[in-house]
């Protein structure tokens, strides 16, 4: 074929050894396959049924959803993962205390890198696209297939090109862009597709914000959300990355199925109302009292997010009617927050700070909502019952809005906090 390629087409071509274009089905070599404590047990059972040797170096095992063990059932489940790691001597198993939310850990530990093909039995595996990887969520059975063969089939996706110009205003970030975009294209607006970001606006978006946006590609149904690797990426990964990696860039004459454009300077602080991430509205239009504010998750639980929230909450107190729960996404983030004095700042304000876990993000533990309660969360999903009771509500927002809302007792931007 005589046309250029998108980043997705280039990575899948390189990994499959086939000159691949969108629509083709290829078998490709996967660099890493990750499973967590929820999706792992099915993968282990399916894999054991194959009677094959595992591709040890490619497997990454991260307990995060229900750890530290929530109850006996989750303890049994976490034990299954630990035992699988021991039986097959899989070095990349990360125990509680040396771990964190799986996607943040994949980044902290340097598995995620530009040009890599990574699959994970967790839908937010698309996060590593923030670094220029092609990474995507798969099921447990498919993870087991990769354990055994190191390969998986992929339909090479068409790509949506998102051209970015300008730069964010103060108090606006990756989460606001993600909610804006999902609201525009809908929760199935990118189904089966990759979303590729480009344009001069990229230079002003921090890697942490790129990871937030890539993380939420799946909330538009996307297979991947990919930012090209640049100096900021190299700087971000230089002390973490394992091994070599390749950089891939889209050709000028690559074909896209859809084009979008955002002037970052025009993006406003956004909040996604229940019960879909596409229900985004500008925060200034929201008038919602809250019972809980939750800061953490693979979307916005990085040190950069904690710094933003700490800046807002400094010298203020959490509203008497609100529980503010802060959950750093990994032990590395936790340690850094401790060293920078952020943890004591949150505690002085009246927040509850825990070690890393997925916890309440998926309605697991550590912050579950009762009937009728409302939570503003820096997470990525606000589905019915996602954080607890079916009649509870989750509002998605970025770290600045979450922290400001914790103080105000209702959903608000930090700017409006001054008026209180």
């Amino acid at each position: 074929m005589d046309r250029g390629k998108t980043i997705a087409e280039k990575i899948l071509s390189a990994k499959s050894g086939v000159d691949a274009y969108s629509g083709q089905i290829v078998k490709a070599n996967v660099d890493y396959v990750m499973v967590n404590d929820v999706t792992g047990p099915i993968a282990f059972r399916e894999f054991e049924g194959l009677s094959m040797e595992p591709q040890k170096d490619k497997i990454v095992l991260i307990p995060d959803h229900y750890v530290p063990n929530k109850d006996v059932a989750s303890a049994e489940q976490a034990k299954e993962m630990r035992e699988f790691a021991r039986r097959w001597q899989i070095a990349n198993y990360f125990e509680v205390g040396r771990s964190g939310v799986c996607h943040q850990l994949m980044i902290d530990e340097g598995f995620a890198a530009p040009g890599r093909l990574i699959v994970g039995a967790d839908s937010h595996t698309c996060t590593y696209g923030g670094l220029g990887a092609f990474s995507t969520g798969v099921g447990s059975t498919e993870a087991a297939a990769v354990f055994a063969t190191g390969r998986l089939w992929f339909k090479v996706p068409e790509s949506i090109k998102v051209e970015l110009t300008g730069s964010f205003r103060k108090g606006v970030g990756g989460k606001d862009l993600a909610i804006r975009m999902i609201t525009d294209i809908g929760v199935d607006g990118a189904t089966y597709k990759a979303i590729e970001f480009s344009g001069e606006g990229l230079a002003s978006i921090s890697v942490s914000d790129r990871l937030t946006v890539a993380n939420m590609a799946i909330e538009a149904g996307g297979k991947a959300g990919i930012f090209p690797c640049d100096e900021l990426t190299e700087e971000y990964i230089k002390d973490r990355v394992r091994g070599k990696y390749e950089r891939y860039y889209a050709d000028e004459d690559a074909e896209y199925c859809q084009m979008l454009h955002y002037d970052l300077g025009e993006i406003e602080p956004m909040v996604a109302f229940p019960h879909l991430p596409e229900n985004g509205r500008p925060v200034r239009e929201a008038d919602v009292a809250i019972d809980q504010a939750w800061l953490g998750s693979c979307t916005n639980g990085r040190i950069e997010d904690l710094r933003i929230a700490a800046e807002v909450i400094k010298g203020r107190k959490v509203h008497p009617n609100v529980r503010f729960i802060v959950v750093p996404a990994s032990m590395t983030v936790y340690r850094q927050a401790l060293d920078e004095g952020l943890i004591s700042l949150f505690i002085e304000a009246g927040a509850f700070v825990s070690g890393p876990t997925c916890g309440a993000c998926l309605g697991g533990h550590m912050g579950i909502l009762a009937a009728g309660e409302r939570c503003v969360a820096s997470t990525n999903r606000n589905f019915i019952g996602r954080m607890g009771h079916k009649d509870s509500e989750v509002y998605l927002a970025g770290p600045a809005v979450v922290a400001a809302s914790a103080v105000a007792g209702r959903i608000i931007t930090p700017d409006n906090l001054e008026e209180i």
């Binding site: 999706t39 039995a121 839908s123 099921g139 929760v187 199935d188 309605g363 019915i384 019952g385």
Partner: protein
């Protein structure tokens, strides 16, 4: 694949995996009886009322959300013979191929409780309650082979992947 017959359970757009099976049920000890929890938050009682062979009919983007394979597994365990939807979320689609849940992409005029007949080989869905017929596309070749072999792991076992 044989002709299927079952009663319809109707849903709207964007049925997410948290609705199909809530996160708090995703523990290893539940793996053999996931059917007990399907749709418990949004359609309490459905898990108990579902009959073997019943069919789910939904709108766009069925199965969006998490990668939990528990979702198609729970429907299969409940006896659901196939899901008919206008479109499916990607990971749910792949998971269903591997666990053997039949998915049909088709927009059909169906009401709750209608009796449906599905003829996979002919690509036909017939609503026996209102007499209407709908056509749907067969899977592409690679996917048909994957499904008829019994999923990806079977291909690996046979040394064909």
């Amino acid at each position: 694949m044989d002709v299927l017959k079952g009663k319809a359970w109707c849903f709207g757009d964007h049925v997410d995996t948290d609705q199909i099976i809530p996160a708090e049920r995703l523990v290893a000890e539940n793996l053999d009886h996931l059917n007990e929890f399907i749709f418990e938050k949004v359609r309490p009682g459905m898990a108990q009322a579902v009959q073997k062979g019943d069919i789910i009919v939904a709108g766009r983007n069925f199965g969006c959300g998490s990668s939990r394979e528990h979702a198609p597994r729970s429907l299969l365990q409940a006896g659901i013979s196939c899901v008919v939807a206008e479109s499916f979320a990607r990971i749910f689609f792949r998971n269903s191929l591997n666990v053997g849940l039949l998915l049909i992409e088709c927009s059909a005029d169906v009401s709750e409780g209608d009796l449906l007949e599905v003829r996979p080989k002919e690509g036909k869905l017939i609503n026996l309650s209102n007499g209407m017929e709908f056509d749907f596309q067969q899977y592409p070749e690679f996917i048909s082979e994957l499904v008829s072999s019994g999923g990806l792991l079977e291909l690996i076992r046979e040394g064909r992947f």
